[in-house]
Symmetry: C2
């Protein structure tokens, strides 16, 4: 029982809350997207996103504070400030694009998707953002397990790792549920 409690406690202890601390706020992702689309100035974000002035100010400050945007005064016009993505900000692209693709796939209204995100090399649209195995295979949720840290890589002996025994040993945690849900 203390065992279960402990495993549950660890559910919180992952990167997600860290990420959500910034990106969980309303508008953060929209600002990120606008930024990636080339918007740089306060008034641009303001008129484009339709966000309230004070909120935008607050969000930009928070994004800068977290190192996702950098804020630097404009050279030629010192009234203006440039907000630009940092490397850390660009690293949010997979999450943003994945979210966007999901919204596109299931959104009620047909969305025009313009401009389109394309591969620079051949200018063809990017494929769906994917989870990859260590050797590059594309994985969907039916090919995923959650295992305790110590058991990573174990049981490579070929036995299918989806038996009741696995659940009893606490080895696999969510697989059974994943399977059942997938069957519907």
């Amino acid at each position: 029982m203390g065992e279960v409690r402990e495993s549950l406690r660890e559910l919180i202890d992952c990167g997600l809350p860290q990420a959500l601390e910034v990106m969980g706020e309303r508008w953060s992702f929209m600002i990120l997207r606008a930024s990636f689309n080339g918007l740089k100035h306060f008034e641009e974000f303001l008129t484009e996103l339709g966000i309230a002035r004070n909120i935008l100010s607050n969000r930009l400050a928070k994004l800068v504070e977290h190192g996702i945007l950098k804020r630097e005064p404009c050279e030629d016009d010192r009234r203006k400030i440039e907000y630009r993505l940092t490397e850390k900000g660009f690293d949010l692209l997979p999450a943003m694009v994945a979210l966007r693709q999901w919204g596109q796939k299931y959104g009620s209204e047909l969305v025009s998707e313009d401009p389109v995100l394309v591969d620079e090399r051949d200018r063809l649209p990017v494929g769906p953002v994917s989870m990859l195995s260590h050797d590059g295979r594309i994985l969907d949720h039916t090919g995923l397990n959650l295992v305790k840290r110590d058991d990573v890589g174990k049981r490579a002996d070929g036995t299918l790792a989806t038996t009741a025994r696995d659940l009893e040993t606490g080895d696999i945690i969510a697989l059974d549920d994943v399977r059942k849900a997938a069957a519907n």
Copy 2:
């Protein structure tokens, strides 16, 4: 000028707002994660996430309403309700995992990452969630362009598509900024 206005207007018109309508709410991603980790019941989410009772009730209802979770009474104990991920819900995994990996990469506190998400086949941890080109190459932000819908696939003549001319024609929108930012 009307031209610019129009292109800006289109920035909103993508899947992102659709996705954020549900997943932009505070707690939504945490509930999704907990659900993927095997939690099914109201009280489980409640004690695990430390969320307020009324908010949890509200969020679960909203997630069900949007088809991300399905709510069905428990067979053996009809007081209990089971909240389980739908296919639509599982489709949010790439976004969730990408967010989590980002948080892990940049989070100040070292996170234990346990349980670990592994490939079912070899039980090795999954790689980073990635954007892929149509033919499977992994792309980072330096390999991405935004082009107008009509220009997708065009200019496959081999000329590097990163000239000032491209920007003037309005063909490429954010590339220049991407480049500059990447250089810092």
